[in-house]
């Protein structure tokens, strides 16, 4: 299968403004491939390079060397983002807009016609269970509602690839369950989902393949069963791969 998300020898260096700190290498030659229709979990401890990888894929940060592409188009071209949906880790939306206005704004940027938006927006608001709050400003939403509004904006263009950065971060169990249900539904619709998470149980239940990064390097990639290997759970395999050793006093 042709990969729709690909990185080749991707390297990102951050230059500190303070001379003493020098250069920090966030990614060391990362090679990654995600194929159409997969739900791909991107795992790693804090500071491993997950968000940096997403930042490069979304064009926020230019790679120092190597390449990254979406649907075969270099990520530096804005058109590469025409068929993707992105949900950031925390909700960052215009608080003075209502959910419907927000979706219309993003719909316009994707070039949707008014008729397409009139059809698509009520469907999405229903999917994320925000029909009752569609005309309220986002600033009046709870955190869970804001996250669901975020999910709706990520789906406005009916994307073929969804990039989700810790989509269940900070949500209560009910909110997490709803987000998981939506990811499952997207998987059933044949969409490709690329998401980072610290919830390994969640990753185990929804992902087809996973990759583990640590200190900017790819440590393992494969199906959940391949990565789990001889361990009883993905969590134990993850801890061993990143070289975690529990303290003998604990």
């Amino acid at each position: 299968m042709t990969p729709i998300l690909q990185t080749q020898k991707l390297r990102v260096e951050y230059r500190s403004r303070e001379l003493r700190q020098g250069t920090k290498i966030a990614l060391h030659g990362l090679d990654l491939e995600v194929c159409a229709g997969e739900v791909f979990g991107f795992l790693g401890p804090n500071g491993a390079g997950k968000t940096t990888t997403m930042n490069v894929l979304l064009g926020f940060v230019p790679p120092t060397s190597g390449s990254a592409s979406l649907f075969g188009i270099d990520v530096r071209q804005p058109i590469s983002r025409q068929r993707i949906g992105y949900l950031p880790e925390l909700t960052y939306y215009y608080k003075f807009l209502t959910a419907e206005e927000l979706l219309r704004f993003y719909g316009k940027i994707f070039g949707l016609t008014r008729a397409e938006m009139d059809k698509r927006i009520p469907e999405l608001l229903k999917l994320v269970e925000l029909e009752h709050a569609a005309n309220r400003p986002i600033k009046s939403y709870s955190k869970g509602m804001q996250q669901r509004a975020g999910l709706a904006q990520a789906l406005i263009n009916n994307p073929d690839l969804l990039v989700l950065d810790e989509p269940t971060s900070g949500l209560d169990p009910l909110g997490r369950m709803k987000v998981r249900e939506i990811i499952q539904r997207l998987k059933n619709d044949g969409k490709t989902v690329f998401f980072s998470s610290h919830e390994l149980g969640e990753v185990e239940s929804v992902c087809d393949r996973v990759a583990i990064v640590h200190q900017g390097e790819l440590k393992a990639v494969g199906s959940v069963s391949e990565v789990t290997g001889r361990h009883t759970s993905l969590e134990k395999a993850f801890l061993e791969i990143i070289g975690f050793q529990s303290s003998p006093t604990l």
Binding site: F60, P78, Y93, F105, Y106, I109
Partner: protein, 258 residues
Amino acid sequence: MNNIFAVAGVVIKELYRRKDFYVLFIVTILICLVMASVNIFNDAKIVRYLKEICLLLVWISSLVIAITTTSRQIPAERENRTLLPLLAKPLTRSQLVLGKFLGCWLACGLTLLCFYVFFGALSASREHHWPLLNYFQAAVLHWFMLGVVVAMTLLGSLVFAASSSNSTICFVVVGSILFVARHLDQVALTLREPLRTVIYSIYFAIPHLELFDVRDLVIHSWPLISWLYFSLALLYALGYVAVFLTAACLVFRRKAVN
């Protein structure tokens, strides 16, 4: 172009939902109303002085609205991190800059339209005289001057991290241009080389915003400016807008936004 208009639409929507914008707008109109309705010293000629003061107030308010509104656009997007989901869409950074410019400039235009219509109606009710073309020339030149200020502030907002420092710098620069720039060539004549060349270079490089200050057209009902000079002044403003926006796009293109 759709993307630029979409971004501009959100800028205008934000402005009319913000309370501070309304407060400044309403306070200016109220002061104008009070000043224009008071007949100080019971002298009919005092109307001209009152018109001058009211127009000065309109100028100051419009500059405050233009600079404060524009200076927070991109820093607020970065601070609130609304820039991330926005740039994850097929929107170029240049389109974002142009959309922000267009939104702020149109908002300034709408504000000016209200100010001038209100001011025109008020003074016409006192003087029974409607110099519509004078008002048109004064308002359009004022609006294009604000275009230069908006573009310059937008560039500043990409160079300076904090919107407050950008606002302060822009107020100082605009104030200096309006009050000092016209005298720079005379100052240069009194200096020795190489300072003379430096001052002359500054004199020719900066946008001469004072050229757009034609309040006397309205206050003293002076004859209209030749339409040729009027058009050249608009082109002069557009030239500076293009320079500032190009620089802003180049600066923003190289910035990491994580």
